[in-house]
């Protein structure tokens, strides 16, 4: 079906809404006085919610393959929903940080564009669309990382950009190789040509393309930027960067594995399995002794991606893989945003010890953090538990028992550093160590923002509740993706 056809446009409604809102937001923002840029955020949130509604509504619909390399199927639909939820949350989350800053409107526009990029990556069924989507999903994030213009932020932006640029080129090289091997760039044609193509080229090309996607997913070996950006960029940006692009990238990896029909040419499961194992192990080990909570969260995201990739490695061999993967992504998004929201709410607390006595002072925030971190560990009945359950089941079913065992071992190891963060939270301490920063402190904080914490705290608690809710009411989510198949 053509993009330009009515049905095609309808299928792309969420993307279109987000894109147009981005443009509109920039225009509106440039006429708004500094104090009232909140309107742009409002606009962006409303638009994102609208797109969310559209995407959710489209979930039930029949899958559509757009001729020019875009597949609107269950995976895309779920990815859209999850991404848009992430966008909305981050927009709300950032209220504490950028409200009233000089470039508030641009911030919102960039967030929207980043989300759009993630959606495109998730839905792309053409290597070129994929490549450009990755570009679109990266460029705004570079700017967001350096948004604060402080030393940390710009350095984060620099590293993010340099790693991204290199792997972007690698991705392009991979696309070219696959073009050479298959004579085309759309998955549909490649899936016909590649099985007969010279295996060496196909392998090299696949690995190169995978590398580009791993950069977006923040997985080994393209993970180096994650902890640095998580520490250097402002907290809401860190939340966005470590959460939303992953969604698109992981779905794209799954698509690559199933739709390119390269599984047996390239030994795809083994490839992804190795990457997954490396990611979860390295992420967890590195998080053991790192000093800062943001870096800790960064490493933990690397590990989490490793768990998700477990399902991607099982792609095509079991019907449990795709539902598990999609559900895990949703669970991960909620939990991760919740954890980062707590960090946003306490911008002055850098190390775990800075959280000492939090439970006394901000019980709900502390409980939220507890739920989210225990959720990361996979304590039932949080969402990640059900996610891990289904992902592990998929892994065992696909004959990747060794990887599942490794994942279990990693889960235990992860418990260690999450508890390292949690223990101070419930410790009894003399007052005055952790408290809302005064306005003066706030002013001195890089990037200007009004009294921080209000929105973030709400988001944190909400996310914690959602983590439990998504876990307990998992059926509502799983039934939607049950038996989901990709196009074509």
């Amino acid at each position: 079906m053509e993009v330009t056809s009515a049905a095609g446009l309808a299928a792309l409604l969420p993307e279109a809404v987000v894109a147009l809102t981005a443009v509109a937001g920039l225009l509106v923002g440039s006429w708004l006085p500094r104090g009232r840029q909140g309107w742009v955020r409002g606009l962006a949130v409303v638009a994102a919610l609208g797109a969310l509604a559209g995407a959710a509504g489209g979930l039930g619909g029949t899958p559509i393959a757009l001729a020019s390399g875009y597949a609107v199927d269950t995976a895309t639909g779920v990815a859209r929903v999850v991404v848009l939820v992430g966008v909305v949350v981050v927009l709300v989350l950032s209220a504490d940080h950028v409200a009233g800053s000089r470039r508030e409107s641009e911030f919102c526009v960039l967030v929207l564009l980043g989300g759009l990029g993630a959606m495109v990556v998730a839905g792309a069924s053409d290597l070129l669309v994929l490549a450009v989507g990755v570009l679109l999903a990266s460029v705004p994030l570079y700017a967001l990382a350096g948004f604060g213009k402080d030393a940390g932020g710009t350095e984060a932006a620099l590293k993010y950009y340099l790693v991204g640029a290199l792997l972007g080129v690698v991705l392009l090289a991979g696309v070219t190789l696959l073009l050479g091997a298959g004579g085309a760039t759309s998955y549909a044609e490649l899936s016909v040509a590649l099985p007969k193509a010279p295996a060496g080229v196909v392998t090299a090309g696949t690995v190169a393309v995978l590398a580009g996607l791993l950069f977006k997913a923040g997985a080994v070996p393209a993970h180096f930027w994650v902890p640095d950006v998580a520490e250097g960029a402002s907290a809401p940006v860190a939340a966005f960067v470590t959460t939303v692009p992953k969604i698109g990238a992981v779905v794209a990896i799954y698509r690559l594995g199933t739709q390119l029909e390269v599984a047996d040419v390239v030994a795809w499961p083994a490839l992804v399995a190795v990457v997954a194992a490396a990611s979860m192990t390295l992420g967890n080990l590195a998080a053991f002794f790192t000093g800062q909570v943001r870096r800790l969260l960064g490493y933990s995201t690397i590990a989490q991606v490793g768990y998700v990739l477990l399902a991607a490695a099982a792609a095509g061999q079991t019907g449990l893989a795709l539902p598990g993967l999609l559900y895990y992504l949703a669970a991960y998004l909620v939990t991760n945003l919740g954890a980062f929201a707590v960090v946003c709410a306490l911008p002055r607390a850098a190390t775990p010890d800075d959280y000492a006595g939090l439970f006394r002072r901000r019980p709900w925030l502390a409980l939220g953090l507890t739920v989210c971190l225990l959720g990361f560990v996979g304590t039932p009945p949080t969402a990640v538990f059900v996610g891990k359950l289904s992902v592990f089941a998929a892994g065992v079913d696909a004959g990747l028992a060794w990887l599942v065992v490794l994942a279990v071992a990693n889960t235990v190891a992860s418990l260690f550093y999450y508890l390292r963060w949690l223990r101070p939270v419930f410790r009894q301490v003399p007052l005055g160590s952790v408290s809302k920063p005064t306005v003066a402190e706030a002013r001195s904080w890089p990037g200007e923002f009004t009294s921080p914490g209000r929105w973030s705290a709400r988001v944190a608690v909400a996310a914690a509740v959602a983590t439990l809710g998504v876990g307990v009411a998992a059926e509502a989510f799983l039934s939607g993706v049950q038996g989901a198949r990709l196009l074509p």
Binding site: T4, D126, V129, V132, V139, A181
Partner: protein, 182 residues
Amino acid sequence: MFAVCAVCAVAAGAAVFWVDSMARATFALLASFVFTGVVILLIELSYLGVLVILMMTMEMLVMVVFMVMYMMNPAGLMPMTMVHNNRVALVISGGTFVALVAGIEVVPWPARGGEPPPLPAAELGAAVMESHMLVMMVVAMALFATMVASVVLATDRGRYDRYGDGLDRRVPDDPIRGGVGR
């Protein structure tokens, strides 16, 4: 012809990291691109070849200006080396090259499928407007994002600095007056 261009392109590319001034490096890079463009021209891709040459020329000029603006040692007055862990880089890139060459020679490339169209540019245009339209749409958004992003990152003074937080200042206060109509 091809051989010449190819060798020159590679040589110029190597020169980029050979010369000890950024300005020269820039021009070396430009040269390399021009030769590449010519190479592309050789295989009936006139439009793309020209495109490459023109874009790169512009871009390199921008880069020169940029470097004159910011970089230290723009004109290479004092010779200096700006490399680190050279050996590792050599090993890795050399290894890559060897691997690629080996691959190129070993791989049984598939046979040519079909003939090039009479007007490749026309076909490219058609593709861009039809089968690959979505790519171009996304590229458009990417470019838009790039504008916003680069402005956000690069410019220090925004509209609120020039026209005040309420955007109610009639005349922008700029450090250096001037510009059109001032």
